[in-house]
């Protein structure tokens, strides 16, 4: 209900999220945005990341190894976590497949499924080359 007020800092955070595919942690966002706003506060980064997530302009990705990652790509898609190097990569399934999974899941389930997020595990191409 409270009006949303513009800020350069939020603009910068959002721009970074939308132009990177690094799936940065809050701290990575902080370090990056610091280049343009040397005295930005980490709290500001967290507040804006959560704000952007709440209004649907960013996505929060939980991983079993430490802090959350953020993504400026809000269209439904999935992620791959390399168990060797720890990198988080985009993994696009076409919408049909995603919807199909949700439909299959709904068959044996006694509630309403609104969305889903799949995290795939394995070895990324870079780590395969090195081994």
């Amino acid at each position: 209900m409270t009006a949303l007020k513009y800020s350069k800092q939020r603009e910068s955070i959002k721009h970074y999220l939308m132009t990177t595919n690094e799936h940065p942690t809050a701290d990575m966002v902080y370090m990056h945005v610091k280049k343009d706003f040397p005295n930005i506060s980490l709290g500001t980064v967290y507040r804006n990341l959560n704000l952007l997530t709440d209004i649907g302009e960013a996505v929060k990705i939980a991983t079993p190894d430490g802090g959350d990652r953020f993504d400026g790509k809000v269209e439904p898609h999935n992620h791959f976590l390399c168990t060797v190097c720890g990198r988080l990569l985009d993994l696009d399934l076409d919408m049909k497949s995603i919807e199909e999974v949700n439909r299959l899941a709904a068959e044996n389930f006694d509630g309403i499924i609104r969305s889903s997020s799949t995290l795939f595990y394995g070895e990324c191409s870079d780590c395969i080359k090195k081994s």
Copy 2:
């Protein structure tokens, strides 16, 4: 490499994980096991949960809302997080569907996919009834 030594505490933690479907947090495990071992340490719970996870006798589930959950059911299956009440429930897809998803994902992906974990979001049946 270092030998694994038996302990009643680990036994109890593992037993609880295997017989509940609550997907407890570390703290919930702590409070439960405390009934049998009143002076067990929370550190012991964490150490053993991680140990069990490492040796494949438990699974750690990351959720975007706070602490990790643990599951003694290690066969591949997925989970549903109710966005209303916050409960985490099992959601079984048959193996065929899971494998199919992994196969579909592998088609557009340049690495090896070993496993996947899908978190579904929506409203559980209890919360639907109440609304």
